[in-house]
Amino acid sequence: MLKNYFKIGLRNLLKDKLFTLLNIIGLSVAFAVAILLSMAAFFDLSFDRFHEHADTIYEVYRQEQSPKGPEASTSQPAPLAGVLKSEVPSIKKVSRHLQQQAVFSFKEKQLSLDVVWVDEDFFNIFTFPVSSKRTNQILADQSSIAITEATAQKLFGESNPLGKTVHVLIEGSEEPFTVGTVISNIPEHSSLKFEAALRFEKHPNYQENKESWDTNYHSIFVQMDDKSLPDQFEKSTRSLVDLNYVEDIANMKRDGVVANSDGRFIQFKLLALEDIHFVNFRKGYAEVSRNTVFLILAIAFLIIGIACVNFINMSVAKSSQRMREIGMRKTLGAQKRHLFFQFWSESLVVFIIAVGIGAFLSALLLDDFKTLFKTAVSFDIIRSPKVILSFIGFILFITLLVGGYPALLLSKLNVIQSLKGKLEKSGKNRVRNALMIIQFAIAIILISSTIVLREQLYFMRNKDLGFNKEQVISFPLDGKKDGYQVLDLLRNELKGNPDILSVSGADNNLGIGRDGSRFRSIFGFEYKNRIVKTNFLAVDYDYLETLDVKLVEGRGFKRGFASDSLSVVINEAMARELGEKDPLTAYVQVNDSTNYPVIGVIKDYNFDSLDNAIAPLTLFLNKDYKLYYGYVKVAPKNLVKSLDAIKSAWASIEPNSIFLGSFLDENINRTLKKEEKMTTIISAGSLIAIALSCIGLFAISLLMVAQRTKEIGVRKVIGASVSSITYLLTKDFLKLVTISFLIAAPVAWWLMSSWLKEYPFKIELKAWFFIIAGLVAFGIAILTVGSRTIKAAMQNPVDSLRAE
């Protein structure tokens, strides 16, 4: 029986090759895209779950009330970890965690590595796979380090890394460390990525800060009891907050800060490990949002949805050709369930073929997909039986639904009517029309989203950020020499070069450089009886000139003014924050004793990512603060030559360190990775949606024309013109597109405006975005349907009438 079904199913498929091809192409493309997209989504969702204790690991974050509302941060003071461990009984293990570059040297080799400075329990909390070790406890003593396999390869080549001694540059002196553990390379789906791990106590800032509750500079991870509830953590930390933050709380009360709904000013809370990849503290609380992932999944579903709509419409439309068979089978004794099963199994054949081709395509396209969408996804992650089983279950479910509907329709037909080949027209077209409206609505939503996203991305890329991003190169100062010294050497080295306009430095980069690091440092002080917070930036001379940042009032730092190292330059946002009529009379307090007068005010520029509005910023020029990044402004001509000149100058000054310079506009583009990824996904999604809708529309118009051959013939005999017949046949489809536009446009508008809400710098939504999307859908419908209908309308009526 089954064999018979498959046989007749296969022969039916082969009989109408164009149809089968359209169906299978549509479905397999949809499956391939859906597999890739959902893999990317599941990859994101699987972040950090590979640790053995993943569900009991949390990051500690602090929520503080401020005059502007709550603020949240994961940055903590050094003594907190120890106090937490002793005061909160439900904490099993705790570790501090600080990520910073450090210079490693082994024999002549010198490397700047991405280091985590952590406590002993770090590797008991996080179970990174270990590839070889000397002792069971990783980082058991302060002079041992753990490195990854890739680092071992870089430092020692093929020789056994265990027990080797490397030197790490700490506070200007080289300290020896012994390699105790080699960790397998860190999985791609880990939020914590590093090249080497050192004990926290070895961090250069540890000694001065180990008792200080004012300096927040590292994060804390805890592993809790299996039974403890994360909500109760806050309550159990109240007493330690009251004990250790007396002064801060008193200041807040004085500044008129309002306590939160719990009546607290400072609260410690827990953020689950699995949420870390998705968290955002911008609004003053831990906002966990997996929206991007769900968006990707939604697009995958939409694409499958479109393909399924095609399939349903095509099978229902085609079924008219199989009426006779259905009737005959019924007279020969087939029951409803026989017929249902038969037609369903035919759909199953198509689906199995399509899924097979789709899976093959997705494997083929995986590499391109990874580069296009900048994801590190691989088949390994989804190779677990659970995922595969749910995938198979999902496919079966879809097949049942999509193949089942036409099968049900067909199996219910009346015997005599179907023998005569008559199909009741009533409900069927309504379902088809509804499905096509949905299909077009999806396409219109995706097209208009593409337009909006592209506009926003273009806007952000080309926005005037308040500094010169085309002509400035930035690079990390990660060699052994002091930053100020390196910059002076560079100035000397590049002096004669007419293309080099100016050289400066700062302790932070603009955008994201090739070293991939990004941070923010904020400090607060008491100004006229209230707390003022500002971003901190240490700069070298010529910073404003190099970056073309405009001065509004006063002056910038100049050589020859000895007092400049005790003065500050602030931005307009900071001037507003200080609230002085003449900002040049204001000052910034650094220690409890010294006030630094403001000597200049600069125009606001986007020193932080475009997700944030421009915050207060204070610039310092003081050799006590280290510089981490150099900036060179070059002439607009010969950009590549200038970059090479800087590179070779760097090589002569820091021969052991690799030059990682890049233009600032590249750095800015790197910060827009999320938007870029989303734009690519949506654009690709809409392209595929359009293509699939075209296939479906084409097939439907093919069948519709075939069904109305007689009508066309009769109309022509009576005297209808080609154009009136084309219009007659196309009009129905255009009506559907119009309805879908009316449905889709407001939905797209709402979606896009809620997406744009997240951005302080954004484009205005304009009606033409949506109108264009509608016109595209309209044009596609006319092209696809029109070509078929014109052909049908031009046919000789004698032929079409004879066919009846």
Partner: protein, 220 residues
Amino acid sequence: MLLELKNIFKWVNSGGQRVFLLKDINLKVDEGDFISIMGPSGSGKSTLLNVMGMLDGFNEGEYNFLEQSVHTLKEKKRATLYKEYIGFVFQSYHLLDELTVQENLEMPLLYKKFKGSERKAMVADMLDRFNIVGKKDLFPAQLSGGQQQLVGVARALIANPKLILADEPTGNLNSNQSEEIMQLFQQLNKEGVTIIQVTHSEKNAQYGKRIIQLLDGRMV
């Protein structure tokens, strides 16, 4: 007695009026009968055949088939009944285009849960009996009309029905082919199969033992 129709009425409502398709049909068919139903177009011949074949229902009256009252049976029971005892032959053959001759013959057996080996034997038997062994792997489109109808009859017969209902079996055939099919029917009738055929042709009607004339849904 094989079947009995008592006061069968069938009508449709068209434009507020009741249009009768069958009016007060009374008919007894014994096993071994060969009945020809004749009448002009629209006189209800096919409808009557469909009612007897249980493919179509009726509005009034009683229908007993092998001592079972069909009008009281549920759809599913009725299906098993006609599946078991009735074979159909159609004017336009209604062979399945996608299946070969052999597979077309096998199909009714598939719905009756015969084993694979049994099915094969029955199909081979039938091919043999109708002398179409050489054509078993051809598709219907590759056969002449007469050959297609031969397959149609073979298919109707394969499950050993007690009754064959034929709706203008020779309507699409030329006179030679018609002759062959009618002789085949006669032969089958001699072997004990009950046959009811609808026909337009006086000549073919003569093959029947009994002729029923219909006019406007009434037996004349």
